[in-house]
């Protein structure tokens, strides 16, 4: 056990030894990371504005936001789970199940009921994820992975593998009502992001989420109801995944069990991590997730506009993800 914990503090000019310089350099890198993805995001935005005429138009930007509304909603929920020290790999599956269930309910019922049923289902799935991973102490990575198979299987069973077509105008209105010339899908995402942002940064529950993810034992011994906090984070994540599914179904008028799936799960997770939320828990923020998700969206959009090979897009996304996680790891490499 080291007798004095290594630490980063402001230094006096007297200490300019090599290791002091090295850790100062690391401290700079760490503080750069606090700003993190914002700088590349702004740089990419400016580059695209210059390189592509159609990029900086209201139609294109609103279009991007509309397409990303479900990813933003799901990402915000996932961020809570990640900070609380878990991971939710079932969001893509929940999204798919919520879509088809909402679609089926909507066939003979009002759109509002379809929405409520879908969100309730998301909450139940989240509660199961939470209880399994806290009370039964099954690692959430495995627990939610297993859940994702169960959920997708159930969704396929419900639809017998078919598409569910949405004909009800009421349901379409969920995402496509225009308010201040912007569709409600975008407004819903904005509201979810703002509310969860406030919950995380300004409430006791939010504080408990950070603490639980930062140190389970210290939190428990301080009287933080760690298990309850984690279950609640999973419930929110489940509801967000379901809401994402309903919004997209309302946008594209069809629902399918395999819609979303692991591709969506990992794209959202990539956005959260690129934004700078730690996969180890205890650190992160909703605004980071917003920037991270939109950054990935900009890459896709920009490359489409500039007609760059979509395969190259994937490679670049992978490199960016590695860089983001790498920057996260560097401050921890100090001995």
């Amino acid at each position: 056990m080291s007798e004095v914990a290594p630490e980063i503090t402001e230094r006096t000019s007297a200490e300019t030894s090599s290791s002091a310089l090295r850790s100062r350099w690391i401290a700079h890198l760490a503080s750069f990371r606090t700003l993190g993805i914002v700088i590349p995001f702004v740089a990419l935005f400016i580059t695209l504005s210059i390189a592509s005429g159609p990029f900086l138009t209201k139609i294109n930007l609103v279009n991007i936001l509309g397409q990303q509304s479900s990813a933003l909603i799901i990402g915000a929920g996932s961020t809570l789970v990640l900070i609380s020290g878990g991971i939710d790999l079932s969001v893509g599956a929940t999204y798919g199940l919520a879509s088809v269930v909402a679609g089926e309910v909507d066939q003979h019922n009002p759109a509002l009921l379809a929405l409520v049923v879908a969100l309730g289902l998301g909450a139940v799935i989240g509660a199961v994820n939470g209880v399994v991973s806290t009370v039964f102490k099954i690692n959430s990575l495995i627990a939610t992975l297993a859940m994702s198979f169960i959920i997708t299987g159930t969704a396929e069973k419900i639809t017998s593998g078919n598409l569910v077509d949405i004909t009800d105008q009421g349901f379409k209105n969920i995402a496509y009502t225009m308010f201040l010339t912007i569709p409600t899908a975008v407004w819903i995402a904005v509201i979810v992001v703002v509310i969860l942002g406030i919950v995380l940064s300004r409430t006791v529950f939010g504080r408990y989420i950070y603490a639980s993810g930062g140190s389970t034992e210290a939190s428990r011994l301080s009287g933080v109801p760690v298990n309850g906090v984690r279950v609640m984070a999973f419930v929110i994540s489940g509801v967000c995944a379901a809401l994402g599914g309903v919004v997209d179904t309302s946008r594209i008028f069809t629902a399918q069990a395999t819609q979303g799936g692991s591709a969506l799960t990992f794209t959202v997770l990539a956005g959260v991590v690129v934004g700078g939320t730690s996969i180890l828990g205890g650190e992160g923020a909703i605004w980071r997730t917003v920037v991270g998700v939109l950054f990935i969206a900009l890459i896709g959009n920009g490359f489409d506009l500039l007609s760059i090979d979509p395969l190259v897009q994937q490679i670049i996304l992978g490199v960016i993800l590695l860089l983001a996680v790498g920057l996260d790891a560097i401050p921890r490499m100090r001995t």
Partner: protein, 513 residues
């Protein structure tokens, strides 16, 4: 083949000159020069935080000094890793065991230096050599035993065999007996003497002064990272070492705490409590009273604290908390009933390292600063400032991560958290472990202030002086039970130690584990 006692394991003369090492603005050691003669047992003593382990790590290559040099036989060395030091003949046996748990003794002993033939590991040869080494050291370690299934002393022996197999001529041991029982510790002492008699140098970092005086040829004393003196062990006594380590006599360090009135209310009443690691404990603590829990490592002191706090499940008996005699099942209930615990390990059980000082200070009482769950930032900041001032936390803004504070200030943050809860009972487990002298005094001041304000206090410490210096009454634990209780003139180190090591009755002594 390397053997334990074979002479001519030519240990070099080791010279450390003006060694300095800083961790974020705080020196761990500064300008320390020590000469370690070959073929001797050289002990390094000092309080927690005096720089013993840092110096040991510099010697063994796991830390690079910011200043000064390490010379072997006059030649300047540049160790970049323990591996470099090992190739110069310096092996380390650290506080934490560094073996591969799933491998056998033989595999661990020869890890990285496996005997090979045509690319294949010669298992039989390795087994044979391990058995020979082990027999010679009188270790009696079966070469095919998997390390994770062995007891700690046997794991340590495996580490020693590993050092010998690597032909190390100098072995640095950092608190090798801290986790051992008395018999195992004595066996290890025999091994250490054998190593010396075989011509090796042993650098022994230890806070057991009796051990140091019995084993070492030379003793170096460090205080606050500075070299106090290096002298033949024969010239030292426990008293002289303690005074050198502290820089003053013991009396000044501990404040005199006013005794509570005879009729002050009982705030903690433990009746026949049994829980994991503790059996049949009965203990009462009055408001304003400081009760010390003494005992060896593993005697059940921390386990008792965790059981009282509701952090582990009670198996029998009860602990009544506060004037309302609440019974509790979780730390959350304990905190609400008026009990606060400063846990044994602030890193693992106390602080959320990456979160800010402010969040850490308010972790237990954050709900007090909220309306319908929404935090009132200003109320929280004000409470934080007040608590930090009261507990004398120094360094940086409350918005910096708590890990940026020194060990002493981190510990004070734990007390700040406790004070904001306004407890009736404060349980402090190792309140000054790894804390510098200045912070220790602040912490003692805080404990005194809390006691005199009517808080019942339970202090657990492996530092016997600390327990005796602070407590009104000392309870001694051994093997999970209470074996003795002392107060007044009976509260002497001799009484407490013999109770802790031998128990009061032979029956208790036999019931270990």
């Amino acid at each position: 083949m390397a053997t334990l006692t074979a002479p001519g394991a030519d240990a070099p003369l080791i010279e450390l000159t003006s060694i300095g090492k800083w961790f974020g603005g705080v020196h761990a050691v500064s300008d320390v020069s020590v000469r370690i003669e070959p073929g001797t047992i050289h002990a390094i003593v000092g309080e927690n935080g005096a720089g013993k382990s840092t110096l040991g790590k510099v010697l063994s290559g796991s830390l690079r000094p910011d200043q000064g040099e390490v010379r072997l036989n006059g030649e300047v060395q540049h160790f970049h890793s323990p591996r470099d030091a090992l190739s110069a003949g310096i092996a380390t046996i650290a506080q934490e065991i560094a073996l591969v748990p799933g491998m056998t003794v033989a595999q661990n002993v020869f890890l990285g230096i496996e005997a090979r033939r045509a690319g294949f590991v010669r298992r039989q040869a390795m087994r044979r050599r391990t058995r020979a080494l082990s027999r010679e050291a009188e270790f009696d370690l079966p070469p095919d035993q998997v390390v994770s299934r062995m007891r700690l002393p046997d794991q340590q022996k495996t580490e020693i065999l590993r050092a010998i197999a690597r032909q190390a001529s100098t072995i640095v041991m950092d608190e090798p007996t801290a986790a051992l029982g008395r018999i195992d510790a004595e066996k290890l002492h025999t091994v250490i003497r054998k190593l010396r008699d075989g011509g090796r140098t042993v650098v022994l970092i230890s806070h057991f002064l009796d051990e140091v005086l019995a084993l070492a040829d030379t003793v170096t004393v460090l205080r606050d990272g500075k070299h106090v003196r290096t002298a033949p062990a024969a010239q030292e006594t426990e008293q002289s070492l303690i005074e050198a380590m502290l820089g003053h006599s013991m009396q000044q360090l501990y404040p005199e705490v006013r005794r509570p009135a005879e009729d002050s209310p009982v705030v903690l009443d433990i009746e026949n409590l049994s829980a994991p690691g503790v059996r049949n404990i009965s203990l009462r603590v009055r408001a304003g009273e400081i009760v010390g829990l003494a005992g060896l490592v593993g005697a059940g002191r921390s386990e008792l604290a965790m059981a009282i706090y509701g952090a582990t499940r009670k198996q029998g008996g009860e602990a009544f908390i506060g004037a309302k005699r609440a019974t509790i099942k979780s730390p959350r209930q304990a905190r609400r009933a008026g009990l606060f615990m400063v846990p044994e390990s602030r890193k693992e059980q106390g602080l959320v390292a990456m979160r800010s000082v402010r969040e850490n200070v308010n972790l237990a009482n954050v709900a007090q600063h909220a309306t319908l769950g929404v935090l009132r930032g200003r109320a929280e900041r004000r409470a934080t400032a007040r608590a930090l001032e009261q507990t004398d936390v120094r360094g940086g803004s409350p918005e910096l991560p708590v890990s940026s504070l020194s060990g002493g200030n981190q510990q004070k943050v734990m007390f700040a958290r406790g004070m904001l809860c306004g407890p009736q009972i404060l349980v402090a487990d190792e309140p000054t472990r790894g804390v510098d002298i200045g912070s220790r005094q602040s912490i003692y001041g805080l404990i005194k202030a809390q006691a005199e304000a009517g808080v019942g206090i339970v202090i657990i410490s492996s530092d016997l002086e600390e327990v005796l210096g602070l407590a009104h009454r000392v309870v001694v634990m051994r093997a999970g039970t209470m074996v003795a209780e002392y107060s007044g003139p009976e509260m002497t180190p001799e009484n407490v130690l013999s109770a802790a090591m031998l128990g009061t009755t032979a029956k208790d002594a036999r019931n270990t584990e």
